[in-house]
């Protein structure tokens, strides 16, 4: 019988038996499901101009690119496959967001109910 997994985002799933976050691309074991998945990823502080390059000349104060003194792109990579799992646009130094904190017990309960319904249906 396969281990029950619930896909939570494009790149993250939770193994309900082991209660662990996993990468959906390479199956890398990321972190405990009851903790912040970001703690198991690699993190980089990017200059926003690396992605959003200035479209107007440097002589202009506003150039279509975010101001790197106001805004940084924090990128979270899977240590296994290098997939960009998530990113955040934050002011320099701003605490990182613990964005997903699901009730794992309820999730397991829901899955068990769904399995029960599926089994009953044959």
């Amino acid at each position: 019988m396969s281990t029950p997994r619930v896909a939570i985002t494009e790149y993250l799933e939770i193994d309900l038996n082991s209660e662990r976050w996993h990468c959906r691309r390479c199956d890398h074991d990321i972190a405990p499901a009851r903790s912040n998945y970001k703690e198991g990823l690699l993190v980089a502080n990017r200059d926003p101009r690396d992605i959003h390059h200035p479209i107007l000349d440097e002589r202009y104060p506003f150039s279509y690119a975010p101001d790197p003194k106001w805004c940084r792109i924090i990128e979270f990579y899977c240590p296994g496959c290098g997939t960009l799992v998530e990113n955040e646009y934050l002011p320099p130094g701003h605490p990182i967001t613990h964005d997903i904190e699901l009730d794992i017990d309820k999730l397991k309960e829901r899955h068990a109910q769904a399995q029960g319904t599926a089994n009953a249906a044959g």
Partner: protein, 742 residues
């Protein structure tokens, strides 16, 4: 006389001698549906055929749609023409039971407040009253509205002396006599700068407007004829809907109409709860940063925590920025709720009826006197500058519930573009009339990427499922505002991702044939993006206001057509007009008078991206490159695709190698989380840029500097200095230094 008796007399005296009926907090902070009344229960007991109820519901829904079309076709205000309105039917208790399917759905959960005010205060007041033939209006957002540029009109519908319901419409009318023309003054520094302030008011009796009040209202705005026309179109729409309700009563009986309105509300709330139950339980959080007040740049935190439990959703914005007492970017709580409901009505469950019950299972938590729950003392004409970011905060959070939900009515979607990048205008038109209003270009917001496809370009505003952007030729017939080139999509302005966001278009405007004409803009997001991608997808970039002053392009291009450029980057980087002054700014422009032929240029924003850029199909990257949506720089440095510059042919092997190299580079530059946090996170916000809102602890709010704080439950409102005073002080200091150096 005993103490209790004395107290009772004083309380009675105070109750009977209220000196001012301001916004009623109990009405304004309660978005729940009134419980079923005994009258409604009798109707439900006597009219139980669900098929018949369905027929009556369709009849009322069709009436709402019909009256919506009437206002859209008859209305003279630009907002009416492009669908910035709804029409609806409210129960005898004031709840909005059904509304038109199109239009601005924010109104769906905030039009009940003025109706409930009428019922609570005017119905039994001998000096006002509520009777057949009465016409009520309002526009003050503090009594329930998006902002004061919108005007509502409702009429009661009686049957054999019994109040059955209200019908009416609410429309973005535009001009309202504020400190700046056009109805949305970003220069407002107090509620008294925001123009017309109609608390719910009886403007007519016996189905006729009272001429004295009409004249007063016309004298209060810059476009008196528009004021009359707007009132008439809303009134006729309300009358048509009233006739349809009366037809339904005649055909099915009065209990059928009462039961249908009640059952529609009850069923809608039950269905929303059923759908919420399909989401996983738990918390999802997001942070959005507004980068200005429209007068100055600063960072305004919108902190959002969603907590879904069973069939209820708690939306917690506590810890967000304090209110700004002399800036108009504050939101009345009810307006915020209206915008949040938009997420569910347009993007999550668009198949549900448009009514107030859609939002009933949600609880919204805010700090009083925060920018998202401002006091009546704070101006709110530009509430969009905080409630749009509030909307985006939940729009990028909800997919984290929806992805694993057992029920979905729509696709998983990233952040839609969320700012009204358009020109407001005011002045004398080519017919010598004083006018002031807004261009419909704001409706061309770029669509967000979905889990399975790219976002559409310049598709629709976040606050309406369908709205027009107007015909430029028709606009030029009415006002002297000229677009010198057709709208073109902005290259590289998308939210990059596995699926990319849609692009927005460039607007290059000028004026001619006017003795006095001014432009305004009201968007944020010039330093910090306002919307975001999801699941690794990037935000769209930031957007400036660009100007070319000191030139009349009509004159210089008369004999030099070669000076014509078609895009903002070409004009700004190539500077084709000699001796002109080229400049960029944030997009908060207060009324600035222009000379003929001077250029004002802005760009509608794009949508957020979905997923990792390295997973984007190289063939889609090639197509976007050939369509000039992205530059070779983005092809190479963002998507890591190797293709032929001329033909767009993809080198698959080289692309795979480039992408693998980037994956390895990510692993090299990425640090383990805890190691990263040690060097990244600071205990408090920086001195520059000025930061407003909580940092680590949501109960402590910063007010622009690390030293200036207040508790979240006892907010001290922020007063901002005048940017011109700061500029003068800076110039004086420079002058003083220069003189001292001599």
């Amino acid at each position: 006389m005993g103490g209790d008796q004395e107290k009772s007399i004083i309380e009675k005296f105070l109750e009977e001698n209220v000196l001012f009926l301001g916004p009623d907090q109990q009405i304004m902070e309660d978005h729940s549906v009134v419980k079923t009344t005994p009258r409604e229960q009798r109707a439900l007991d006597s009219f139980t055929d669900t098929d018949q109820i369905n027929l009556v519901r369709h009849k009322l829904q069709t009436a709402c749609n019909e009256s919506f079309d009437m206002v859209e076709q008859m209305g003279a205000a630009p907002g009416a023409k492009w669908g910035d309105l709804i029409s609806g039917v409210w129960t005898a208790n004031g709840d909005l039971a059904l509304a038109s399917m199109g239009g601005v759905l924010i109104f769906s959960v905030l039009t009940q407040h003025p109706v409930k005010f009428i019922l609570k205060y005017w119905k039994d007041d001998p000096t006002v009253g509520l009777k057949d033939g009465d016409i009520f209006m309002h526009n003050d957002a503090r009594y329930g509205n998006i902002h004061n540029t919108d005007q509502s009109l409702v009429i009661p519908v009686f049957h054999e002396g019994e109040l059955i319901c209200f019908t009416g419409a609410i429309v973005h009318e535009g001009e309202n006599g504020a400190i700046e023309p056009g109805g949305m003054p970003s220069a407002a520094e107090s509620p008294f700068d925001e123009g017309l302030k109609m608390s719910p008011i009886k403007v007519g009796e016996n189905y006729e407007f009272k001429r004295d009040i009409l004249t007063f209202l016309q004298n209060s705005v810059r476009e008196p004829k528009l004021q009359l026309e707007g009132m008439k179109s809303k009134f006729f729409a309300a009358m048509r809907m009233k006739a349809r309700v009366e037809e339904a009563i005649a055909e099915y009986g009065v209990d059928a109409v009462v039961a249908t309105m009640r059952k529609t509300l009850t069923d809608t709330e039950a269905e929303v709860r059923r759908r919420l139950s399909a989401w996983p339980d738990g918390k999802v959080r997001s942070n959005v940063f507004a980068d200005g007040t429209l007068r100055e740049n600063c960072l305004i935190r919108i902190r959002c925590e969603l907590d879904k439990r069973g069939d209820e959703l708690i939306i917690d914005f506590r810890g967000s920025s304090p209110e700004f007492l002399n800036r108009p970017n504050n939101t009345v709580l009810a307006s915020l709720k209206g915008m949040l409901a938009q997420e569910f009505l347009s993007f999550v469950w668009p198949d549900l009826p448009r009514n107030q019950a859609v939002f009933a299972p949600m609880t919204v938590l805010t700090d009083r006197r925060s920018a998202l729950h401002c006091s009546p003392d704070a101006p709110n004409a530009q509430s969009m500058m905080t409630f749009f970011p509030g909307f985006t905060a939940i729009q990028i959070a909800v997919p984290k519930y929806l992805y694993s939900s057992s029920h979905r009515a729509t696709d998983i979607i990233a952040g839609w573009y969320n700012m009204i990048v358009t020109f407001l205008y005011g002045g004398i038109n080519q017919y010598g009339e004083l006018v002031g209003n807004v261009c419909a270009d704001l409706n061309g917001m770029g669509g967000a990427a979905r889990w399975n496809r790219d976002g559409e370009h310049s598709l629709a505003p976040i606050f309406a499922p369908m709205a027009d952007i107007g015909e430029q030729e028709l606009i030029e017939e009415e006002v002297p505002l000229i677009k010198i080139v057709p709208h073109r999509l902005m290259k590289d302005a998308e939210g990059f991702g596995k699926f990319r966001g849609g692009h927005g278009y460039q607007q290059i405007a000028t004026m001619k044939d006017s003795s006095m004409w001014g432009f305004m803009c009201c968007s944020i997001g010039s330093k910090f993006p306002t919307t975001y991608g999801i699941f690794g997808g990037y935000a769209p970039g930031t957007l400036p206001l660009c100007k070319v002053k000191g030139v009349n392009v009509f004159e210089v291009m008369k004999d030099q057509r070669e000076l014509l450029r078609f895009t903002i980057p070409e004009i700004m980087n190539e500077r084709p007009f000699p001796n002109a002054k080229y400049s960029t700014h944030h997009m908060g422009l207060q009324l600035e008078f222009a000379q003929p032929g001077e250029l004002y240029m802005i760009t509608q924003g794009g949508g957020g991206g979905y997923g990792d850029v390295l997973e984007r199909d190289p063939a889609l990257v090639s197509k976007d490159y050939l369509d000039e949506l992205i530059s070779m720089r983005s092809v190479l440095n963002v998507y890591r695709v190797v293709l032929d510059e001329k033909t767009g042919a993809v080198d698959a092997a080289a692309t795979e190698a480039a992408r693998q190299a980037e994956r390895e580079a990510r692993k090299q530059r990425g640090k383990p989380y805890h190691e990263f946090v040690k060097t990244w996170e600071t205990a408090e916000p920086p001195r520059e840029p000025p930061f407003y809102g909580s940092w680590k602890d949501r109960t402590l709010l910063y007010r622009g500097t690390p030293e200036d704080t207040c508790p979240a439950d006892a907010i001290r409102s922020v007063m901002m200095p005048n940017p011109k005073d700061l500029r003068i002080a800076q110039l004086e200091a420079e002058l003083e230094a220069a003189l001292a150096a001599k």
